[in-house]
């Protein structure tokens, strides 16, 4: 299959109010070949995306990774704002937290977060991000396949294979 932007690095927006954690997550992401923008608050994240003003920012963000515990706007608040925005609701959001609280984790996942990482975040966690990014470019391909299945469920495998996009 063809992925138009396969040569371009994915751009991740990292949000964390702690300097050390910001530095660490930035390094983890860069080591994994992502382009990174790091900000220290949910408000700044929204500003960067252009949600706080009417000027349309020409900013392309492929994923947002945010700390949960932040003063003012928590990571959950930011998650909801992103998911409620028509322009940005499809951007995958990942939440990080140093506290292992199941109800918090569930709330975030139910609120639309793709993943919830416990801090300290490891390289192995960052590796889990790639499928969420790849998934976006595959959406059209999968939708087509699924629709074909529904239309004609007794289709033979051979016929179905013909329709596969390579």
């Amino acid at each position: 299959m063809v992925m138009a932007a396969s040569e371009t690095k994915f751009h991740v927006l990292a949000v964390d109010d702690t300097l050390i954690d910001r530095k660490l997550i930035e390094k983890l992401l860069k080591t994994s070949s992502y382009q990174v923008t790091a900000v220290d608050s949910g408000t700044k994240a929204l500003e960067f995306l252009g949600l706080n003003n009417n000027d349309h920012q020409d900013v392309k963000v492929n994923l947002i990774i945010t700390d949960y515990c932040m003063p003012g706007m928590t990571g959950y608040d930011l998650l909801r704002k992103i998911k409620e925005s028509s322009s940005f609701k499809d951007i995958p959001v990942v939440i990080m937290s140093s506290d292992n609280i199941p109800s918090r984790i569930n709330r975030c996942l139910e609120g639309g977060a793709e993943e919830f990482f416990l801090k300290p975040v490891q390289l192995s966690d960052v590796n889990k991000l790639r499928p969420h990014l790849m998934k976006r470019t595959q959406t059209n391909v999968n939708k087509r396949k699924a629709m074909d299945e529904i239309v004609s469920p007794d289709r033979t495998r051979a016929r179905y294979n013909e329709l596969e996009v390579n």
Partner: protein, 135 residues
């Protein structure tokens, strides 16, 4: 040979102190661990002072205490300082229970572990400086 010895020393200290950080240091940012360590060193010292002050004020503001300790625990955990992080967890339990005496006792443990860690970090940073001077 002195240069090699120092560089090897730095590398082995880094490995033993900071598993994960070590993985992140590379040619594009050869001072990464040093920067993070310095950041932590300054940041944690400041937080310890804040916590000390908060514990000395009457009445004790447990909310503020928990806030400081949350930050402190967060950065300790981020650089892989397990012992300090564990003492912080104990402290926060006393804090949540608003147990002043428990907090004060627990904080002594936190300070102790932090002091041990600081000494290790100082030696590490010193060795790094020496190694860069012979480079």
């Amino acid at each position: 040979m002195d240069r090699n010895r120092l560089h090897n020393q730095v590398a082995s200290m880094r490995r033993s102190l900071f598993d994960q950080l070590e993985e992140l240091q590379d040619d594009t940012n050869p001072n990464f661990v040093q920067e993070v360590v310095t950041l932590f060193y300054n940041d944690s010292t400041r937080l310890i002072q804040n916590i000390e002050q908060a514990l000395n004020s009457r009445p004790i503001d447990f909310c503020k205490l928990d806030d400081y300790m949350h930050q402190f625990k967060g950065s300790s955990s981020s650089i892989g300082a397990k012992k300090v992080t564990n003492e912080c967890t104990a402290f926060r339990e006393y804090c949540n229970a608003e147990n002043a005496e428990g907090c004060i006792r627990s904080f002594q443990q936190v300070k102790q572990e932090h002091a041990i860690l600081k000494r290790k970090l100082e030696v590490y940073l010193q060795t790094v400086r020496q190694a860069s001077q012979t480079a």
